[in-house]
């Protein structure tokens, strides 16, 4: 069987009047790949997804889904995709069962198959016992699970997942992650947009970072991290941590920035070994004990911050443009 990319985007441009939302972006997503699409708010993520799902048309350029041009062969392209939007867009006045069946009808799932699939998915997502309850009584996590179940009712080859676990309870979070992992193992292509960069780091084969309508970087998370080896850090904890120590630690030689998170300090540097020595001296002079210390390479978040032109100031991130 001929190999086909799940998504192929070529020189996509989208303009809204004088504003260029997407500026000639090109990328592809292989079949079975989990692809993360990251970017700050307003970077062009939603516009890209709206074009890839055929809701909006590009000003120029092309996008294909399993070889079907999304603009000219929209219905065939959509038939192979499942869409799970950020907003848990379920019909509150319908029961979980009715929501599922309606979704299956929209995707032309045959009658017998739709009932079988609905039963199966509601069970997987822990909603089968509540299948006859209207969705307006569901918790945020339950609605999210139902949204994902609705997105899978047509057994899609490509799943668009927008912020799948944002703000969810632990149970929903675990169920959703398990289901996505299972889908990936079955060869389903996942196009993931998320603000949770650690989630993208853990789940994605490759990520693209989009900023101001341009693709700033596209690669495997580990390879992206290697591009900014200069952003390394050490993380440690004293037996007695205080916020007052942060300013003093920031002033240690070779420290570029310092953060305090919980009972740990994180110092950014290009030379971790020198900074470890300095921390030990600091601990000794202040009669403190170092109870844990770890050196860390750059995180995907560091890459994201570097490429999107954001800057860490203290514990928060600011735009520098």
């Amino acid at each position: 069987m001929e190999y086909m990319e799940a998504i192929e985007v070529s020189h996509l441009i989208k303009k809204f009047g004088p504003l260029t939302a997407l500026n000639d972006i090109t990328f592809s997503v292989g079949e079975g790949e989990t692809f993360g699409f990251l970017g700050p708010n307003g970077a062009g993520k939603t516009t890209t997804i709206r074009i890839l799902t055929g809701i909006s048309s590009p000003t120029s350029g092309t996008a294909t889904i399993f070889g079907h041009d999304i603009e000219h062969d929209t219905i065939a392209a959509r038939q192979s995709m499942g869409i799970v939007s950020e907003n848990s867009n379920v019909y509150d006045d319908l029961t979980a069962w009715q929501n599922m069946i309606f979704s299956a009808q929209l995707y032309h799932v045959a009658r017998k198959e739709r009932e079988k699939k609905t039963n199966e998915l509601l069970t997987i997502f822990g909603l089968h016992e509540r299948r006859n309850d209207k969705a307006h009584g569901f918790s945020k996590g339950m609605k999210r699970r139902l949204t994902l179940a609705m997105g899978l009712v047509n057994s899609p080859r490509l799943l668009f997942l927008d912020e799948p676990t944002s703000g969810l309870d632990v149970q929903s979070n675990l169920i959703i992650r398990d289901v996505v992992t299972d889908l990936v193992s079955k060869g389903v292509t996942v196009f993931l947009t998320t603000h949770n960069i650690e989630e993208a780091n853990l789940m994605c084969d490759r990520v693209a970072i989009i900023n101001k309508g341009n693709i700033a970087a596209i690669d495997a998370p580990e390879r992206l991290k290697k591009t900014i080896q200069s952003v390394q850090s050490i993380e440690f904890s004293f037996n007695n941590n205080s916020a007052d120590q942060l300013d003093e630690l920031r002033r240690l030689p070779l420290v570029n920035d310092a953060q305090k998170a919980g009972d740990k300090f994180k110092l950014y540097t290009q030379d971790p070994s020198e900074v470890i020595d300095a921390v030990m001296v600091y601990a000794h002079t202040h009669d403190l004990k170092v109870i844990s210390i770890t050196t860390l390479g750059p995180s995907l978040e560091d890459v994201f911050i570097r490429l999107t032109g954001l800057q860490r100031v203290g514990g928060t991130v600011h735009a520098i443009d």
Binding site: S56, I75, I83, S85, N89, D92, F102, Q105, Y107, H108
Partner: protein
């Protein structure tokens, strides 16, 4: 020249119709009993009618055709201007826009729910005429065709107005009422078109309600301004125009 696969086309059509029907059923379940639809679709035409009928010395039974006409106008065009802005607000409308169906099926499915609602509601004045006032129906098939076409025409009008990209029901309703309210005065519902001034008569030709009401009058009295065939053709033309316009507006506003 690309070849046409009749089997594939039939399957596609069946899928599109089935999805349109699913959209209509979803709207029936969710919106038929919503208070603002009951007010706009049932109470509004009733009170509007009573306000004008009270001053007339005509026997109540003769007012039934007019009541049916304005009931069809208001009830058919009331569902989508409520349901679509609400669904935009809760983002469920995106589900329909991204489903593997054509925009024509979406517009058709949305219109279908208004159409069926309106047919059901219009049976009330019809039954009132038959049971309470013994209003005779001269031509029942024409009445049925008139009700079907008028209802579908105004359901499509409601879907067309709901294309305006707002999440606010009131905004769509206000725009729609600036069209619906004048229609009842220029379409021969309360004042016969022949009694209207020249300019009014000319404007009446541009109102789909003129042709729906004309057919309903014909069904009850055997008299009409146009032939039922002319009314049917013109109502079909209005339906086609509204469907195409709605399709284009949904595409344009989703950019």
């Amino acid at each position: 020249m690309p070849s046409i696969d009749p089997e594939g086309c039939a399957k596609r059509l069946s899928c599109e119709l089935s999805a349109a029907w699913a959209i209509a059923r979803k709207d029936m379940r969710m919106y038929y009993l919503k208070p603002n639809i009951v007010v706009s679709g049932i109470l509004f035409p009733l009170f509007m009618f009573l306000a004008f009928a009270t001053g007339k010395n005509a026997p109540p039974g003769t007012l039934i055709p007019g009541l049916i006409s304005i009931t069809l106008l208001f009830s058919a065009s009331s569902i989508e201007p409520v349901s679509i802005p609400i669904e935009r607000r809760v983002k469920t409308f995106d589900r329909l826009l991204s489903a593997p169906i054509s925009l024509h099926s979406l517009v058709f499915g949305e219109s279908l729910s208004g159409f069926l609602y309106s047919l059901g509601i219009a049976c009330l004045p019809l039954a009132l005429g038959v049971l309470m006032f013994s209003t005779p129906i001269v031509n029942a098939p024409v009445l049925l065709i008139a009700m079907i076409l008028t209802s579908f025409c105004f359901a499509t009008l409601g879907t067309l107005f709901a294309a305006y990209p707002t999440e606010n029901v009131g905004e769509v309703m206000s725009m729609l009422n600036t069209v619906r309210l004048p229609l009842i005065f220029i379409s021969g519902v309360f004042i016969p078109i022949s009694s209207m001034p020249q300019i009014g008569q000319k404007i009446a030709f541009f109102s789909p309600l003129t042709y729906g009401n004309d057919m309903i009058e014909f069904a009850y009295t055997g008299k009409s301004l146009f032939s039922p065939l002319q009314d049917i053709v013109l109502l079909l033309v209005f339906i086609l125009i509204f469907q195409i316009a709605a399709n284009r507006l949904y595409k344009k506003f989703n950019e």
